[in-house]
């Protein structure tokens, strides 16, 4: 993994970073297997170079983009974000990448566009987990356009000063730190602007458990476990989960007037 050139930013919760080996070997990436250790064991099969992303839907500049044409590697910045998994554990991760808004602006969303839909690679040869029908492949996720344009929404291409490892979603992945981790879709091959709410994988799999928004919310429990607390990886005790994962100041306004109990 090549070291990257990037600028530091003020996006830093000031908490201890989760060790690199934990971030790169404790992963949920079902395309590479169901155990947390499977992605780091199996993701060597993935070929992140060359990579191209299909941009379609309500944009001024649709087409197949080479990775280098989509991501401005001269504008890379580091952002340290909390990551809260829906399973009740969390990490603090030093991502490197570019704001999602900067990518979308380049593509030129048209005035009718309301949502952004993302898709993960689903290649049987590179991803051994694809042969099991755990989810309806390919993995799909989506955001509202205001969410996608929010300053926090980020496209990560690096981690801990280097290129992002395959098991963490190489070569480019979404990071939306105020939502549960499964919203932060990995190894993106398609970005589509649309006026209709896109399907999301976990919602299709169990709509009573996973909603479209999936904002981190300690007051709305997952049907199978409480979301009030979380275990920071590396810590023995559990700590209180923060509303919007502690990013309420930046994102709460996106949801004014929305019943978060119903729109979970």
């Amino acid at each position: 993994l090549q070291p990257l050139t990037y600028s530091k930013t003020a996006y830093n919760p000031g908490e201890d970073l989760t060790p690199e080996d934990a971030i790169t070997s404790y992963n949920n990436f079902y395309e590479f297997g169901l155990d947390k250790s499977n992605p780091s064991e199996n993701a060597w099969r993935l070929e992140p170079k060359p990579w191209s992303v299909k941009v379609s839907g309500m944009v001024d500049a649709p087409g197949d983009y080479a990775f280098e044409d989509l991501i401005d590697m001269k504008a890379l910045e580091e952002r340290i974000y909390r990551l809260r998994c829906v399973e009740g554990w969390s990490m603090v991760v030093p991502w490197i990448g570019v704001p999602l808004a900067s990518v979308l602006k380049k593509l030129g969303p048209q005035s009718g566009a309301k949502y952004v839909a993302f898709e993960t690679l689903a290649d049987r040869d590179q991803m051994p987990g694809i042969r099991y029908p755990v989810l309806d492949w390919p993995y799909v996720e989506g955001l509202t356009l205001p969410e996608a344009m929010n300053e926090l929404a980020f496209i990560a291409v690096g981690l801990y000063g280097k290129e992002i490892p395959n098991q963490n979603g190489a070569p480019l992945r979404l990071v939306v730190p105020w939502k549960y981790g499964f919203k932060s879709i990995k190894s993106i091959v398609s970005i589509k602007l649309t006026d209709r709410k896109p399907a999301t994988s976990w919602n299709k799999s169990a709509s009573n458990e996973y909603g479209f928004y999936s904002n981190v919310n300690p007051e709305v429990d997952h049907p199978r476990w409480s979301q009030a607390r979380e275990r920071r990886i590396g810590e023995f005790s559990r700590r209180k989960t923060l509303m919007f994962n502690g990013y309420g100041e930046q994102v709460a306004h996106l949801y004014t007037g929305l019943d978060l109990e119903k729109n979970f």
Binding site: L34, K36, S37, Y132, R229, I233
Partner: protein, 219 residues
């Protein structure tokens, strides 16, 4: 076959199997002692999750093994397997106890209010808790004294509850996983396979085949 005589199995076989059943527990406790001391351990980056799953897996495996002993004796025409049935059942209970200890102590850290919410609100935990409630009387009445007190007939009837425990445990496992996963279904298939041997038809056919008398409790 003198090597596997009843006498040898009682004297050497039982302690040997007892030691085998202890291996996973010893591994787990050793690694937790290491983890607590801040030393290297094999519990991974989320030791609580690891031990919840590890103890649950072993509880279910040993439970299924205990349900396999009667079919094995039917198939082989030998009652020797039954020598190990009580011990196997009690070890299943032992790993269930470790499973619950892991969950209540290591994972939830005695947060009783949240624990109670878990039991009543979250169905897969309700199911697991019900399995525990069914298993408890079986563990208590596992002694020869209880077989005498209840009478063999009633004792056997009571211990049919283990089938409910098996079904509940598999449902608990299936519900705990996300998406569509094969692993818990494999356990379910094994349980279903073992239950086939409880059908009167199958039992009497196997007995006729091996010329064997019905197996009584407390052998």
């Amino acid at each position: 076959m003198a090597l596997f005589s009843q006498k040898n199995l009682r004297r050497y076989g039982k302690p040997f199997v007892f030691a085998l059943f202890l291996i996973p527990a010893v591994w787990l406790i050793y690694n937790w002692v290491q983890a607590y001391a801040g030393a290297p351990h094999d519990l991974g980056f989320n030791p609580q999750e690891t031990s919840n799953r590890f103890t649950g897996d072993w509880a279910l495996r040993i439970l299924l093994l205990s349900l396999a002993l009667t079919p094995l004796s039917l198939l082989t025409g030998s009652p020797r397997w039954i020598l190990f049935r009580r011990m196997t059942g009690l070890f299943a209970f032992f790993y269930v106890c470790l499973h619950i200890t892991s969950y209540i102590w290591l994972d939830m850290q005695f947060d009783w209010s949240e624990l109670w919410t878990d039991v009543v609100k979250r169905i897969y935990i309700t199911v697991g808790f019900t399995a525990l409630l069914c298993l408890l009387p079986l563990a208590i009445t596992s002694t020869a004294g209880w077989v005498r007190r209840l009478g063999a007939k009633r004792w056997q009837k009571l211990h049919k509850l283990v089938y409910a425990v098996g079904v509940l445990a598999v449902i608990h496992f299936i519900m705990m996983r996300k998406g569509f996963q094969f692993e818990p279904l494999i356990y379910g298939a094994v349980l279903a396979g073992l239950m086939v041997f409880r059908l009167p038809m199958v039992k009497s056919w196997l007995r006729r085949r091996t010329q064997q008398k019905p197996i009584n409790a407390g052998v």
